[in-house]
């Protein structure tokens, strides 16, 4: 019952050096195994002594999981590739700058040096009730403490809330969705590839997890198809502090234009729901339209349809509307006569 912080409970540390070994360990330990990528999310749970896994599987020694490779179909990024590497990689900066931008805005330099792309997309929510160890739905309980008449929910969901109102905190996730990335998951049955947007689950499907990963599953790589290489990109993250903070909301879009006409487009938003949302309705509505302020405004309005504010997060509705709008037309850079 006692709250003890910053002393990690004892665990067995296993450090495989190959995917095969990692796989074997995960099979053997099942739900008892805790997968450690960069560790920045994990250590919070362990230091708070809220989670006390029997076995921690450190993937930092698995070289196969690291690195950025060009393939015939595009790019493959190992799940254990650091955010710094992604943010600074010349190829990503040249062709998929959306991803580089989103990675560069994560947390702080040291965290980007250590945090991995796999960890960033798989991290748990930052709802402060859940992270305090309160027994909410997400922790297996029967209540959401954030969505009560007095709950403090400024950072919570406006869309697709289902009992739980937590949001996904990842910055790279919407960028990957906009780039139509595929996530490669391995388990004992073999390898499966899921679309980026299908990697994430909402509370209506599973209230205790944010991704489709089950015990025994290992996210090994993220594949980015060449389809969107060099497209028009937009990424914006709104946060309270310019370092460390998770997004209040972020938006990512990829667009292929022909003249002024939007030929192809993908838009994703995070911080609005328990999973990063791909805005298919918006995409469908603006495909083939002129890229104009009117189109952008229509997109923004469409994006927030059905949004339900909680007591303290009504601002997220105009925020999402405006971010989606900007993701179509970009933001007008201020020019000051000084």
């Amino acid at each position: 019952m006692a709250v003890i912080r910053d002393v990690m409970p004892a665990f067995q540390l296993l450090q495989p050096t190959s995917i095969a070994d990692a796989q074997k360990i995960l099979d053997q330990y099942g739900p008892d195994a805790w997968v450690l990528a960069g560790g920045l999310d994990s250590f919070d749970w362990l230091k708070d002594r809220i989670k006390k896994p029997n076995t921690v599987v450190d993937l930092s020694g698995v070289e196969e999981l690291k690195g950025i490779r060009e393939t015939g179909q595009g790019l493959e990024i190992g799940a254990m590739t650091t955010l710094t590497e992604i943010a600074q990689h010349p190829l990503i900066k040249a062709k998929y700058s959306l991803l580089a931008q989103s990675a560069e805005l994560v947390a702080s330099p040291q965290i980007r040096n250590q945090g991995t792309i796999g960890g960033n997309v798989s991290q748990d929510t930052r709802c402060w009730y859940y992270r305090a160890g309160w027994p909410c739905y997400r922790a297996g309980g029967n209540i959401c403490y954030a969505d009560t008449p007095v709950g403090r929910n400024r950072e919570h969901a406006i869309l697709h809330a289902e009992r739980c109102v937590a949001v996904n905190p990842s910055d790279t996730a919407p960028a990957l969705i906009a780039l139509d990335a595929k996530f490669v998951i391995r388990n004992r049955k073999g390898e499966r590839v899921v679309n980026a947007e299908d990697y994430f689950v909402g509370p209506e499907i599973d209230i205790t997890r944010l991704t489709v990963l089950q015990p025994g599953d290992l996210l090994t790589a993220v594949r980015i198809p060449a389809t969107w290489a060099g497209a028009q990109f937009y990424f914006e993250k709104v946060r309270d502090r310019n370092v460390w903070d998770f997004p209040l909301m972020n938006v990512a879009s990829a667009m292929v234009l022909s003249g002024d006409t939007i030929q192809q487009v993908r838009v994703a938003v995070n911080g609005a729901a328990a999973r990063p949302l791909r805005l298919k309705a918006v995409e469908n509505a603006i495909r083939g339209k002129q890229r104009s302020i009117a189109t952008a405004e229509m997109a923004g309005n469409l994006a927030v349809q059905g949004a339900v504010p909680l007591q303290f997060n009504a601002y997220k509705i105009p925020l999402m509307r405006n971010l989606v709008k900007r993701s179509i037309t970009g933001v007008q850079e201020a020019t000051w006569a000084s």
Partner: protein
Amino acid sequence: MPKAREIVPGSERKYGAQYKVIGKNYQTADLYAKVTGQAKYAEDFRADGMLFCKLLLSPLPHARVKHIDASEALKMPGVKAILTANDLPAPADSLTDLGTVIKANPRGERALTNEPLYQGEPVLAVAAVDEYTAAEAIEKINVEFEPLPFVLDPLDSLRPGGPNPRVEGNVWDQHQPPPAKPGERPASPPPAEVAELKWTSADFEGAKQGRLPMGKPTDDWSYGDIDQGFKNAELIVDESFVTPDTSHQTLETRSALAYWQNGKVYVHTGTQSTVQTVPALARWLHIDASNVVLVSEYTGGGFGSKVTAAITAIIPALLSKKTNAPVMMRITREEETFIGRGRPSLLGRLKVGFSKEGRITAVDMFVICNTGPYDAVGDAGAAARIVSLLYQPPAMRWRGATIMTNTPPRGPQSAPGGMQGIVMMEPIICKAARKLGLDQVAVRRVNCPEGKADFGPVQNGKRAHCTSSFMKDALDRGAEQFRWQERVASKPKRAGSKVRGLGVSLSCFFGGSTGYDGLFVIKSDGRIAIPSGIGNLGTESVIDCHRVVAEVLGVPWEKCDLTWGNTTQNLPWTCVSGGSQTTHAMTRAAHAAAMDAKQKLQEIAAKKLGGKPEHYEVAHERVFAKGGGAGMTLAQAAQHAVKLGGKYDGHEAPPDVNKYTKASVAALAGQGLVAVAKDKYPHDGTSMSFVASFAEVEVDVETGKYNIIDFLAYADVGTVIHPRALGGQVLGRSILGIGHAIGQKWVFDPEYGHMISRRFYQSKPPTILDVPPNMQWAALDIPDPETPVGARGIGEPPVGGGCASILNALSDAVGDDVFRRAPVNADTILTSLEAGRPMQDPLTAHI
């Protein structure tokens, strides 16, 4: 933008032209150890056989401990002892310098408790061989709590039938003893009791419109005719405002190591006062002060939260006694958030009358201060006194209610109360200026203090006044350096979704105390040994103040050897390094001691070389006959002093110095020429320092996100002693204030009474990217007329201006009427802009 490759030094101006040492930058004696990692903070010490200690914190905001079952924990190998509230000695009474006994209050805060009054209050502690064991032991202890009613928001407690934070009530009731007859010592006041204060439903009518209800206050004062003032006003502005609760969040948590040896307790902990922590520890531990040794060489930040001893030093000390082994208590960041003190939120309502010209005609101020469950902080009253000084209202009424709640205890934080007062007043000045069509700088210029300005209520027949104020000069020069007029004139204000806003704010706070002792020894080799009793918080006052000695005696600084941070080093009685008093108090004390040395040197020279003392002068490490006759080196004089004995080498101490100083002098006796004196320089007013703060922000009205793009603080702080240290303080404290504007806060869950903003990413202290990469500061460098060196403190004054200038710039950008609270974040701006009016409850701090 072209890459600016050159180093941009804060605002480098030459100071101290008339001095050799004062006003000059130099390398402080502690810097090498700091930059190489050798500097030892409390948690860096190790002792043989050291045990580790962990705390069990109350999960309830208010409860009674019914039963503690620690049997499982005590059975664990490696667990040495547990300490509960029942093990604590009764706190001792304390004695003031004036000889008044302050009775220990049984209702005050103690190291551990059986009636936790806030979630996170320590209930018991475990000592074990390592932290892993101590942590597991804590988890094995079962404490049965009986939940008691609790309250987080002072307004809830004031409502008819509202809950009380303590069983007996929600306010302190201090009965004052009858005034002492002339010549008699004032009687000791009885310990304060807890009483209940409730307002009526009628009082709460106003709350429905978002206006602060105003019922019966706990304190009040007034001066002038406010009714007439409002009658004469061209414009009356009446606003309610709420400021945040903010943790001090020193980067070093208050970890402590303690052990006992030969009946003495040795405590290693970070503190803002080396000397004055000793009596505090003695009182908590109920032992004699002579049995306390404090080691505090480096303190990792204080901001008011480490003024003397904290409960965190008591727990390891008692556990060490119980286990007969050294005990280290490493305080985690989360624990620090609970027990590390915070600035109280003030709920305020101000009604201010303005003339056509913008001159304030009257101020009616009401504030409610959320003080937490223990000692009442003085923020409510300080807020009013600062408003009274800074805006010089000819008539003012203040009413304040300091209310207890079941939230972590508050303490003074840089510019306690002053900051909140300024932050409530400034937006009102802004609004009035806009309504009256006046320039923001001009309207402040009309109201700001000048010279020996009066402030506060009439007490004993007169009002207090500040020693000097050159606020107008600071405003003028600051406006010039900031190019205020030029910026105001430049248009457009809006480009795309970005809007820029300009803000200016007045700011001030207390800048010094008096009456402490100076002490140093001129050694027989001519070097000067200076034991510094000042806490080493990194503001460098621990060293800077003693530069006065070198200046007065004409000794090169390289020949001054400083020791600090350890109470075995024969320290003089020194002020607490809080409330910006140190530079003022201790340059005075250093000056007094230096003058004592000068006097003694002249006397020694006269004795040895003939003539009268006043025929000799002291300079260039010598004392010699005026005009260049016979003389001797300081080394020789020191050797003579030892031979002469008596007052010259410390065998006699002046009668008026503190007994603590006397003991130090006795210990130093015979080591050379002992210079010791109490600061008795005349001082009529209250020393106050002033800052004019300027800021420009850029708000993105589509996201609510804003950035501070420029900032300048212009200080009126008396003589500049050490420019770089001063600059660090002026901008550092400004950013502390800015933190209040841009995000710092406590958030509670009202149902369970838990603080849920426990981590930095939730409580949001400002980062390096939240402030502009080039900030500017400057100081007037006009000496204070009532203090010998002319220097005042600067720790607190910039804070209010830091916060208010940002808020003012925001309201310039997006309008006066969209928010009524700090901090202002994207959410505040965006929701309010959408609605065109304030959207976040201006009467609730914890959101």
